[in-house]
Symmetry: none
Subunit: 208 residues, 2 copies
DNA sequence: TTCAATCTCGGTCTTAAGGCGGAGGAAGAA
DNA sequence: TTCTTCCTCCGCCTTAAGACCGAGATTGAA
């Protein structure tokens, strides 16, 4: 039996998930909570094998709850089950220690499978989310372009689109002289010799 | 009931598939054939909903049979089920009018699912094959660079690597003037304004 | 043979690109 | 406040880039 706790502030969602999970006799729903704070307490008290956690909740969000739980009970597998797959949500959740990341568009079967896999130590990442993660990873292995300032990065991406200095200056509403300055700084930071190589850099590093 | 015909010159394979399909009561195996010619005749006579067709057969291959059938009976869904996923096989099959394309490494369940989906109008393409198709599509939608001469393509790829005219001339053992000529021709053929855009073109079209 | 395409190279000219040095203003950290 | 970073912009200068025009050599097809 896999001991499970469901944390979601929408009762209908929570009850629905629980009802479905109870149709399979592998799951033992030991508790449920409607907020991050409540959920964290319950989890630390009951020490379930797996937790289904929503991210966006009224009292204390899922990320904080996840972080808090993982500090006290690192063996607990927390599966994030949310509607959002923005960079702002996914990354902090993974960093907080979430074990799997599913979207609410997932089928009941997929969720059940994810719980079983989590109990046996396998991660499950929603494809859409996986893509985001790959991107994050890429930007994680910070390359030369992490030394670029925001403005320089903007200019670099313009170069990556094949724009001339003139076009860039018009797009960014700055003087062409300024663009040239940025370009020069970019070239030296990326250690390339001209804008063409900079454009190649952009595409090789999939910045665009 | 979905009326199905199985065409495959290996009896064991054919009988095996039929035996499995008969375990599900949604399928009505109305006929079977061991060659493309025989299969085409049988299909036109019995007008099944779905046909499972092997590609490599002794008498008349599956592609010709498919083409022939589709001319007479375009509503018939022909599922190609073969061991090969070479470019030479896949593409002609699709062009001949094949509805789905599966490999024999597929599980029985997948095949059954594919038949049901075909009956309801949904295509199923084996992932490995889908990849090939994507590539074919890319080379099918012939882009601007197909008008380039070999030499020009060489130069273009150099540009895509961020090389200067000087470097290109040294690599290809030609004068820098010649390189400039090629570059000018490339730019006008690709309808871009400078080498940076040409480099972007290379990477966007994954020529490198 | 004639013709077309391709590769090669030349001259001339204009301009975008990029290096170098300097500098003022704004915002945030020490 | 002082210092630093960043964004902005200036002038001067050199050179690579690219357009335009022409042309000889080779090859293969008609």
């Amino acid at each position: 039996m896999i001991r499970v706790i469901v944390v979601d502030d929408h009762e209908i969602v929570r009850k629905g998930i629980i009802a479905y999970l109870q149709t399979e006799d592998e799951f033992d729903i030991v508790g449920e909570a409607s907020s991050g704070n409540e959920g964290a307490e319950l989890i630390l008290e009951l020490k379930p094998d797996v937790v289904l956690m929503d991210l966006m909740m009224e009292n204390g969000n899922g990320i904080e709850a996840t972080k808090h739980v993982m500090e006290q009970l690192p063996s607990c597998k927390i599966i994030i089950l949310t509607s959002y797959y923005d960079d702002e949500q996914v990354f902090p959740a993974i960093q907080a220690g979430a074990f799997s990341y599913l979207l609410k568009t997932s089928s009941a079967t997929e969720i059940a499978t994810a719980i079983k896999k989590a109990a046996s130590g396998q991660n499950v990442i929603e494809p859409k989310v996986a893509g985001k993660m790959m991107n994050s990873f890429r930007s994680e292995n910070k390359k030369a372009h992490d030394t670029l300032t925001e403005r320089e990065l903007e200019v670099l991406l313009c170069i990556g689109n094949g724009m001339t200095n003139q076009e860039i200056s018009e797009k960014l509403y700055i003087g062409i002289k300024t663009v040239k300055t940025h370009v020069s700084n970019i070239l030296s930071k990326l250690e390339v010799h001209d804008r063409t190589q900079a454009a190649v850099y952009v595409h090789r590093n999939q910045l665009l």
